[in-house]
């Protein structure tokens, strides 16, 4: 059964690389929806999560709904509302970004190796994927200009944090800590709502964060 988990993990890794190389925002949102779904069903495929109660089940359904439907839906709505389609002139180009993505995977593998015995057995690939998502999210936030791409980067970072938690948890009885990461989606929601409602499209011609540079020293 562990193979299913690995297939999902490879899917997540691919989605990360795809998102780094994609310049169409609509495609980016779709990729994030896929990644959200993959991330939220992953724990169900892991062995030590088998014995969860009904509370856990409800939690995973909620998670699937938020990460897979609600947030991507909001992002999609935001795209329609402000009608932009492409990330033009990223700070770091798409090919370079893809290359950085590969470097991040290397980094993640080496971190996982360095941790060695400190992680539960069989979770090495999971941790690698998690760290990749974490750093790729950070990278996406820093290397793109559009506000909405930055939010997507944040979403990926958040997925990474959730996966890191899943990878390092040995026992199912661990008090739910990483699960509270769902609250971070609240912040994402607020940011996207900010883009939709709060005059970002009124104040600027497009939501290019390069326009957000009047306050500087």
């Amino acid at each position: 059964m562990i193979h299913f988990a690995e297939i999902v993990l490879v899917l997540i890794l691919l989605s990360i690389l795809l998102s780094l190389a994609s310049n169409r925002l609509l495609a980016l949102v779709k990729i994030m929806a896929l990644q959200g779904i993959a991330v939220s069903i992953l724990p169900l495929l892991l062995e030590h999560y088998r014995t969860m109660g009904s509370g856990g089940l409800i939690f995973f359904q909620m998670m699937l709904l938020i990460k897979g439907v609600l947030i991507p839906g909001l992002l999609y709505f935001a795209l329609k509302k402000i009608s932009i389609h492409r990330e033009i002139e990223p700070i770091i180009g798409y090919h370079a970004s893809l290359f950085v993505g590969l470097l991040i995977i290397l980094l993640a593998v080496s971190i996982t190796d360095a941790l060695g015995n400190a992680i539960p057995t069989g979770n090495a690939l999971l941790l690698t994927t998690a760290i990749t998502a974490f750093f790729a999210g950070l990278f996406l936030m820093m290397s793109r200009r559009k506000a909405i791409t930055q939010v997507i980067g944040y979403l990926m970072l958040e997925n990474g944090i959730y996966l890191i938690g899943t990878a390092l948890t040995q026992h199912s009885h661990i008090s739910y800590v990483v699960e509270f990461g769902v609250l971070l989606d609240l912040l994402v929601g607020v940011m996207v709502m900010g883009i939709i409602l709060n005059n970002i499209n009124h104040a600027f011609d497009d939501i290019d964060t390069d326009n957000l540079n009047r306050l500087r020293d």
Binding site: I161, T169, I174, V177, F180, L184, G194, D217
Partner: protein, 475 residues
């Protein structure tokens, strides 16, 4: 019950969101008074806790709570006058969010469970963002966007930190409730590797919120764009709350025998923040941004003092109290200046002593206070930290510390003296009302009083807060 301290302002805040602005003002002040009352009752131990796994009146928490409560009372009185004079649009949002902000900050101060603490700090971001965006200008939007985005990353990292701390409990296979009080008792059994990693993430995460360099970039924007009462609250109360989160994990590290590791990090971040603030304050054209950079510097001082420990720890806690009082007073005075002259640029303001003498007094006195001169408390606290550093043998660090302090004073002095005396400063657009002048003076007065006389109760609480970390005032 103890939980009332955050339930009451939360309900009042929700109510104020619905009420029209004028009535909301009343709710604001009444809640502030009640909150202070409850806070004092909590000090005397008159409030039992219901959910005692999650909330506990710890000594540093109580300290932060009382400071927050007192500063909030002064700010709420000030905003009575401010809202009458300055046009605050959406007054009900202002009132409601201020109260919700107070509620979440009280929750931070009382939280004993790492996750409750984390949730509360996240909530402070959510409820303070509308305050920064209140003026709805392009700059305000930019400041709010930066604030939400950068703090969100910080919050996410802090969650990871909390998770690693939990992991260190799980690996050690200790069955204790996950609260700082019980973790402190079993600190030496925790897994040191994950505890260290956890501390790094918590320091970076909450450090973002606290305004430690290099994660401080949101702070000058947010503090300068928010309406002045909100800036005062951000600077005087929110930064302390974020600091409290770091302090609690630092305590845990110290008890686990990893104190030197976390101290080194705190000293490093502290000095870096002071240096960055010193550099950026030099050519600052905007007086509210200048105050914000001064906040970064003071947070650096606090982190430095906590890192040094011993004498300096006492100084750091004292510094936190006095910085809150003086800085929020300065932001309120700056609010009067902004209201009267209609510009944030120091160039556009001149001859304050002649034009607005009533605002000039707290503004300039605040400058004397923030520069670390007597008779204000920062004089004592900075001296304590310096002595602590010298006593601990941190000579190089002490030299950098003094250098940065001088740098900031030099940078700030130029702006303060320019605003106060230079130029002829045209006639102000508005006069300052009495309600806008009394609260800043009140805050400064509190700092002076605490400088010469510390009530036994307060003294005892400070000692309790620092004795866990080996802090002392008897060298």
């Amino acid at each position: 019950m103890l939980e009332l301290l955050f339930i009451l302002p939360m309900l009042a805040g929700l109510l104020a969101l619905l009420l029209p602005g004028k009535i909301g003002q009343g709710v604001l002040v009444v809640t502030a008074l009640l909150h202070l009352q409850l806070g004092v009752m909590a000090w005397f131990g008159g409030l039992p806790t219901y959910a005692d796994n999650y909330f506990h009146p710890s000594a540093p928490g109580l300290l932060v709570l009382l400071v927050t409560s007192f500063v909030f009372l002064a700010i709420s009185l000030y905003s009575l006058g401010y809202c009458q004079g300055a046009k605050i649009e959406k007054e009900s949002i202002f009132n409601g969010c201020m109260l919700l902000f107070l509620s979440t900050m009280s929750m931070v101060a009382l939280a004993d469970h790492p996750i409750v603490l984390w949730i509360a700090i996240e909530a402070t971001t959510l409820v303070s963002a509308p305050l920064i965006f209140l003026q709805r200008s392009r700059e305000a939007l930019e400041a709010t966007w930066k604030y939400v985005l950068i703090c969100s990353v910080g919050i996410a990292l802090a969650l990871l930190g909390c998770f690693f701390i939990t992991l260190s409990v799980n690996i050690a296979e200790i069955a204790v409730p996950l609260s700082f009080t019980s973790l402190n008792e079993v600190a030496d059994q925790l897994d040191p590797l994950w505890l260290k990693v956890g501390f790094i993430f918590v320091l970076i995460g909450f450090g973002t919120k606290m305004g430690l360099a290099p994660m401080h970039t949101w702070l000058p924007d947010a503090h300068s764009q928010a309406p002045s009462p909100a800036s005062a609250l951000l600077s005087g109360a929110l930064l302390n709350c974020a600091f409290l989160g770091i302090y609690k994990v630092h305590t845990l590290m110290y008890l686990a025998g990893l104190g030197s590791f976390s101290s080194q990090l705190l000293i490093g971040f502290g000095l870096l923040s002071m240096l960055v603030a010193g550099i950026f304050i030099m050519k600052q054209p905007d007086y509210k941004r200048m105050l914000a950079y001064s906040s970064i510097e003071n947070m650096g001082v606090i982190a430095f003092g906590v890192g040094i420990g011993g004498f300096a720890l006492y100084g750091a806690v004292l510094h936190m109290v006095h910085h809150s009082l003086i800085k929020s007073s300065l932001f309120l005075s700056a609010g009067n200046i902004l209201h009267s002259f209609g510009t944030k640029a120091a160039e556009g303001v001149g001859n304050l002593a002649g034009v607005l003498p009533r605002t000039f007094v707290p503004f300039f006195a605040g400058f004397i206070g923030i520069s670390g001169l007597p008779p204000f408390g920062i004089f004592i606290s900075e001296l304590f930290i310096l002595f602590g550093a010298l006593q601990g043998g941190y000579y190089l660090q002490a030299a950098i510390y003094v250098g940065c302090l001088l740098l900031v004073v030099a940078g700030a002095a130029r702006i303060f003296t320019d605003i106060s005396f230079a130029g002829n400063g045209g006639p102000p657009l508005h006069r300052d009302s009495l309600l806008q002048v009394i609260p800043p003076n009140l805050l400064l007065l509190a700092s002076i009083i605490l400088c010469v006389w510390i009530p036994e109760m307060l003294h005892q609480t400070i000692i309790n807060a620092i004795s866990v970390l080996g802090g002392t005032i008897h060298g």
